[in-house]
């Protein structure tokens, strides 16, 4: 396959979107992460973003939705939306719970009292690994993660 015969796609204009609904079972998380990173690979996001930022932040959002939002009620569903272009990735995770106060729940996991705790690092990691974390209600409790593409 010589390069002049099949040039790389002009992915500057590429836009991918994904929607998926899963039962409230943490065993689905890994597969969802695989599918989302596969989408981002098409847009040549950096290896670091594909192997650290996206998997970890998305895993946190999904496990909070399943465990905190839906409390593992198997009849409750978690919706996942991914919208990615060459500039940025937007992930939305929607659960059927009552929501939460993001400001309040987001703690500094590196403080001396928190660093020895077993839990409480989920929102902190999302905030560290993404460019923005938002929470709002819209047909459910939505956590929106946005990440700009790094070269």
């Amino acid at each position: 396959m010589t390069p002049d015969r099949s040039p790389g796609l002009p992915i500057g204009s590429l836009h991918l979107a994904l929607e998926l609904e899963i039962p409230s079972d943490v065993r689905y998380i890994e597969r969802v992460v695989e599918m989302v990173t596969r989408q981002c690979e098409q847009l040549a996001y950096s290896t670091r973003q594909m192997s650290l930022n996206v998997p970890v932040a998305l895993t946190e959002a999904l496990s909070n939705a399943i465990l905190r939002g839906n409390r593992e009620h198997l009849t409750k569903r978690v919706q996942v939306r991914c919208d990615v272009n060459r500039e940025r990735l937007v992930l939305e995770v929607v659960d059927e719970g009552n929501g939460f106060d993001l400001e309040e729940c987001l703690v500094d996991a590196t403080s001396p009292e928190n660093v020895v705790r077993e839990d409480g690092r989920g929102l902190f990691l999302m905030a560290q690994l993404m460019d923005s974390v938002e929470r709002f209600a819209n047909h459910g409790n939505v956590v929106r993660l946005t990440m700009r593409r790094h070269d």
Binding site: V26, R48, S51, P55, T59, V115, R121, L125
Partner: protein
């Protein structure tokens, strides 16, 4: 993803293959606690074959390190790739754990 445990001298070496996340961290915890109960004291967790770790995976490591210390034992981590190093740095967990670059160094450090 799976956890392979084997004895190397008097050290229990655990290989974490794949992800260490909310869906499987309990299995790692149980396997290590079983060994601890059997009287093992020295543990090395090797991450050379690990993908990503989430906050509950990190939580299990914190929990195990406490439990091992309570029994007078020691826990070492080895072979964190760059992504995992970053994860430990972001959470300052690199200050909580004894982390070696290679499995050999970790084994020697006990």
């Amino acid at each position: 993803m799976s956890f392979a445990l084997r004895k190397q001298g008097e050290i229990v070496v655990v290989d974490v293959e794949g992800q260490l996340i909310v869906g499987n961290r309990q299995e790692l915890k149980q396997k290590v606690l079983d060994e601890l109960e059997r009287g093992e004291k020295k543990f090395l967790i090797d991450f050379s074959q690990t993908g990503y770790i989430d906050s509950s995976g990190l939580g299990v490591l914190v929990s195990l390190s406490k439990k091992i210390r309570e029994q007078g034992g020691e826990l070492r981590l080895a072979n964190l790739n760059d992504d995992l190093k970053t994860l430990f740095e972001l959470t300052k967990l690199d200050t909580l754990f004894q982390i070696a670059d290679t499995r050999e160094r970790a084994l020697e450090s006990f």
